[in-house]
Each structure stands twice: as C-alpha cells, then as structure tokens.
C-alpha cells in the first residue's frame, strides 16, 4: 500500500474518532498520538542502517547474535547488609536458589572510603550494605564462593580501585588468577557528582583512578568490566528516559576521552565498558530507551572515536527495576510493578537484571521478599514467552517511532553537553543536576495534581496497618565491626588469619602509595593491591589518597 493511500485512510479514521474521543477527558502525559502507523516509521530501506540484526552494528536489536535464544540474562540480585558473614549467607542463599551472579551492596562508610570506627560512620555501619574495612572482611564475604565460577558486580565508585584490589587478593588466596576473574565494578564517578552522592575526590584525580583501572585491567584482569556507566541513579534522581541515556552516554564519552588522553588505544579498553539502566514503569517507553541507547552508543564509538572492533561499539547493559517507583503504600502492589519493569528490561534486551523487592520503600528487603523478586525474573524467563524471540517489539510502529524520538532527544542533550565542554564541565556548572531536578519536581507536581496516577498513593488509596516483619539491621553491627577493626589495627589475628597484620609493612605500603599518588605517571593499582594485601584498611588507604588529592566540593543548587 502506498503512503498516500495510508495517509488518506488515516485522515478518514482521524475524522471519525476525533469527535468520539472528544467526549472523553484527556489523560495528561500521554504520547503525542493515539495511534501509530507505517507513516511514523522509516521504511525497509533504512532497516540495515538503523536496526540491522542482533550482534550487528548499530546493535539496536541487541548486542549478541543469539540473545536469549543462546543464554538467558544473568539474574543478579543486589544484596548486602550488616556484616560480611550475614551477607555471605545471603549470597549463598541466592546462588542456591538459582541466582546466576552476585551483586554486592556496600554500606555508606565503605562507599565513601571511611572505616567503621571513623566518627563520621556512626549510625551508618552495615545499614545500606555490608561493611568492608579490610581484606579480612572481604575474605569472609566470599567464603565458600568460588571466584573462578561466579561473576561479581560491586557497586563501588570512588574507592573502586581498593575494593577491586581486595577482590583480586581474595581470588589469589582461593587460587584463582586475576586473569580468570569475572565481574564489574561500578567505578562511575561522574554520576556520583550528578546524582548519587558517594564521591570522595575531585574530578581530575578521580578520572585518573578510573583510567588507571582501565589500563591495569586490560593487562591483568581482562575479563573484568572496568566500569558500569550508570543511568540508573540519574533516573532515580528524577530524570526522564531520554535524559537518563543522554547524560550517561555523555559520561561515557568523558571516560573514553580521558582514557585516550592517557595514551590508550580505544579498542584496548572500550570492549570492557558496560552500562547500567533503570527499568521504569512505562513498559514500551523503556523498551524503546534500551534500543535507542544501543544505537546512540554504537554511533558515538564508531563515528566519534573511530573504534574498529565491534565489541567496542556494543552497549552491554545491566538493569535494575526502578526503586523510586516502589510505594510504601500497599507494598504488595510493588510485585506487579516489578514484574512489568522486568518485562520491559527483557524486551529491551538487557544482559543482566536485578529486581527490587516489594518492601524496599520501607526498609531493606526480607529474604521472603527477595525470593519473590527473583522468582519474578524466572517467571518472565521461563513462562511468559517474552524471552522466546529476539527483540520482539521491533517493527511495532509505536515502539520504532519512540525509539527514534528518544534517540533524537538524546542527541540534543549530548550536543548541548558537548557545547558546555563535556560531562565534567556540565556537572561542575550544575547543568545536569538542574535538568534532573526540574524533571523530578515536575513528576512530583504531576503526582500531587493528579496529572499522574500512582495506584495506592494518589488514587485507590486505603487505610492500612503499618507493615510487619521488616528487616532491621541491629546497631550492634557497628559495635562488632569496630571491635574487629581495633583488633586488626592492633596487630591481632582476626577471622581465619593465623597471625596479625604487620603494622610496619602497612606503613611502608601506605608511604609507597602516597609517593605514587604524587606521581601522575604512575598507575596506582599495583600500589593499592600491595597495601590491601598487608591488611591496610580501606580508610587508611583512602586517607592517603584524600591527603594528596583533596576532597570534591559539591555544587549545591536548588
């Protein structure tokens, strides 16, 4: 059928329904059109350039040729709380129940490079994740877990180098060489400045640490994903779907630029870059977002950075369902939200997925809630049919039009950030933060005006009893952790150590690290690894770096 004929029929249809729909009150925040047709998408002549085949540039339809027909995504549940021992038990439970990868949540002192006994850590130890003070805790965290078999993702950014070094050291103790270790460190400082808040050092030394890791891993830990460039937290902070991928890809551009400036060949590191998306409530928009993001990144890597290897152009992505969309009201409804978000991530072609638990607007999840969240992935994988064919929504007029729309909006933001001098400058000027805040405020005002419905919050509400049986992290965790740390620092053996740490060796390693920090041409990873192996604590190592690098001063704006 010719476009003219479709156009004519469409006009007839519009004339018929225009009057009919005028009777219905318009719901706000809807797509521009009520119906999408072949007129909204490019024809078959654009297919190979814009969509192509799975595993083929520009990877719109997925990064692997086989996608879930070869292997399902990794079901990677983010977990960690209290002590290393308690978290180790949760990890082993998840593996026993069909979890196929680990994902470590660290407490805030760990994420910001403070020991549990630092006054600033008071009240925070073991709360949002597990407390790791030294290699001794890391040994307990992975006790009876074969690092040669499992892949481990660690949500750690400013001190990512230190936690990676600890992981390498545990691997060595287990007899697994660094070259065999598989996993990911988040290591994405730019979104910490813009949206997540666990920064330590200013941008320049932070970017150096990141490129040091790229370099070190390309030679020593080749199967490791050296960064997870994260849109997740940008979305959680309130951005739109287009802003999520645009700001994140701009961050990615900044990292690639930094590594090239440090003398690396783009194809030597780009294949180990990975991404992290949010799976939000609007199922079809999310699917379009995943597809658009792959296309944008592929074009960036090919056209801007002249990458040669296909792997360097592939946007491989981990996904988490949207925590900020969980409601404290009628928490069981969250099970349904998470199921829909899971469907979006799977139809979007994610490589791995964490599903949130129903009770996370209230507290850390209980084991029962976590099990439901994992089962949700398994039901989508094995029962729903959504994983049966590759990129099942390709060719949907609506989804293709939305993929194009999100791509266009993303390029507009990326170009704007380029004009500001790149992501680092855009963050330092507060531009990205302001854009996110504006979107967050609009969302909240839409919820309060009723322009956006959240079931159980501003519609279909009920009086409820406060939920029972929430997980609580005991304050004694902090006391216990501090006691262990005091013993370690005093040179007493802890856990399975046969002898205590040698404080002279610790000091020598820290002095050596300090000298290396001052020499910009030195890669810090070997020095950090050496310090970690003496059982120098995370706080001791980060204090050395704080001394040389200074602290980041955040841009505060409203």
């Amino acid at each position: 059928m010719s476009n003219e004929k479709i156009q004519a029929e469409l006009e007839k249809y519009e004339a018929t329904v225009a009057k009919a729909v005028a009777k219905f009150p318009e719901r706000p925040n809807l797509p521009e059109k009520r119906l999408y047709t072949p007129l909204d998408v490019k024809g078959p002549e654009a297919y190979v350039d814009e969509l192509s085949f799975p595993g083929e540039y520009p990877f719109t339809r997925g990064v692997q040729p086989t996608m879930y027909r070869g292997r399902l995504w990794t079901m990677r549940m983010y977990a960690g709380f209290s002590t290393a021992k308690a978290s180790n038990e949760r990890y082993r439970y998840l593996i026993a129940n069909g979890g196929t990868g680990l994902s470590c949540a660290f407490d805030l002192p760990t994420q910001i490079g403070y020991d549990s006994d630092d006054p600033i850590s008071e009240g925070e130890v073991g709360k949002v994740g597990v407390a790791i003070d030294s290699l001794a805790d890391m040994e307990v965290l992975f006790d009876q877990i074969d690092l040669g078999k499992v892949s481990t993702s660690m949500t750690i950014n400013a001190p990512a180098s230190v936690l990676l070094a600890m992981y390498i050291a545990v691997g060595e103790e287990q007899g697994v060489p660094a070259s065999e270790l598989k996993g990911t460190i988040q290591n994405d400082i730019l979104k910490e400045y813009a949206a997540r808040g666990t920064y330590i050092f200013p941008p320049k030394p932070s970017m150096r640490l990141i490129t040091n890791i790229f370099q070190y891993c390309s030679q020593n830990v080749p199967k490791w994903n050296t960064i997870s460039i994260s849109g997740y937290h940008i979305r959680e902070a309130g951005s739109t779907a287009s802003q999520e991928i645009a700001f994140t890809i701009s961050d990615g551009i900044a990292y690639v630029n930094a590594a090239i400036k440090a003398g690396m060949d783009v194809d030597a590191f780009a294949g180990r870059l990975s991404f992290f998306w949010n799976a939000h409530n609007n199922v079809l928009e999310e699917v379009a977002k995943f597809r658009a993001s792959r296309r944008v990144w592929a074009k960036v890597m090919k056209e801007r950075f002249h990458a040669q290897k296909a792997k360097s152009m592939m946007l491989r992505v981990h996904t988490q369902t949207a925590g900020s969309m969980l409601t404290a009201q009628q928490p069981n409804n969250n099970i349904i939200r998470v199921a829909l978000q899971t469907a979006a991530a799977v139809m979007g072609g994610t490589q791995s997925l964490h599903t949130n638990s129903r009770d996370e607007a209230l507290a850390l999840p209980t084991q029962e809630s976590v099990t439901i969240a994992l089962r949700t992935q398994q039901i989508v994988a094995y029962e729903s049919g959504l994983a049966d064919v590759i990129d099942p929504l390709a060719g949907s007029y609506y989804v293709e039009a939305m993929t194009d729309r999100i791509e266009k909006e993303a390029w507009e933001y990326i170009n704007k950030i380029d004009e500001l001098g790149g992501a680092v400058e855009a963050i330092e000027k507060g531009y990205i933060q302001k854009e996110i805040q504006d979107s967050a405020y609009k969302w909240q005002m839409d919820v309060e005006s009723g322009a956006r419905t959240i079931v159980g919050v501003n519609k279909f509400t009920v009086e409820e009893e406060p939920p029972k049986g929430l997980l609580k992290v005991d304050a004694s965790v902090g006391v216990e952790q501090c006691k262990k740390l005091a013993d370690l620092k005093a040179g007493k053996p802890i856990n399975k150590m046969t002898k205590g740490r040698d404080n002279a060796a610790v000091k020598a390693a820290l002095d050596e690290l300090e000298a290396a920090c001052k020499d910009e041409n030195e890669n810090l990873m070997p020095h950090i690894l050496k310090a970690v192996k003496t059982y120098a604590t995370l706080g001791e190592i980060c204090n050395v770096m704080r001394g040389v690098f200074g602290l980041y001063e955040a841009h505060v704006s409203l």
Binding site: P109, I112, Y114, Q437, P466
Partner: protein, 130 residues
C-alpha cells in the same frame, strides 16, 4: 506583615539520596518560605551550626540510609544546645513506622514517610511554627 518562615533543609550523614530533599525544598520555596539547603553529607554539628547561623524557624532533615535513629536525635540535641528552643525540627525519608515513636520522643516533631504530598509538609509547618 509576618516575617517569612525560614527553613533549613538538611541532609545528615553519608546518604546521597537528595531527590526528596530537593523536591521538598523547592515546594517549600514555592509555598513562600525562605529555604536554605545544606547539600549532602552534613554532620549533626554542621547542621546545628547552619541552623543557628541562618536563624531558621524550621530544620527539615531527610535521610534514606537507615541512620535516622542515630542522627535525627543528635541533630535535635545539638540544635536545642544552641539555645534554639522554639525551632521546629521535622524529618522525612525511608523511615519505618516502628521507628517513629522513638524519634518523636527524642524531639522530632513530625516524620513524613514516602508518598507524602509536599502540600502536607507545607501545611504542617504553617500550623506548627511558633
């Protein structure tokens, strides 16, 4: 004419989640209050000092990390210690219902949990500022 109500929106502790704090801060500003936002990672001492320096009527704390049982009472104690007997101190964030009685006992006047409309916070402040 009454003096404009002045509010310090504060992020105690190490928590980096500031979407809620910023949305509330902006809603309070749009409601006609004068608003100062501390930014992230403030110690209770820094918050109390800022409250005094800025001579605020209200200290509104936001925390999603679970450290509220320790940090909220500490801020109350230090703010009161600065002689600010009448300052209205409120909190919000991911706070289980079961923790709220102890926080109120410690002097946190009201606790707002997820899903609260910003208008409710505005109305509460208007009704309770001395």
């Amino acid at each position: 004419m009454d003096k404009r109500i002045k509010v310090l929106v504060a992020k105690p502790g190490l928590d980096g989640h500031d979407r809620g704090a910023k949305v509330v801060a902006r809603a309070l500003r749009d409601a006609g209050f004068e608003v100062v936002y501390t930014g992230l990672r403030q110690t209770p001492e820094q918050i109390a000092e800022a409250a005094m320096q800025e001579d605020v009527d209200v200290v509104a704390m936001s925390l999603l990390s679970g450290a509220h049982p320790h940090l909220f009472p500490k801020v109350v104690e230090l703010v009161r210690g600065k002689g600010m007997k009448d300052a209205l101190i409120i909190g919000g964030g991911v706070i289980p219902e079961t923790d709220i009685p102890a926080l109120k006992e410690a002097g946190v006047a009201e606790v707002f949990t997820p899903g609260t409309p910003t208008t409710k916070v505005v109305d509460y402040i208007k009704a309770n500022v001395k």
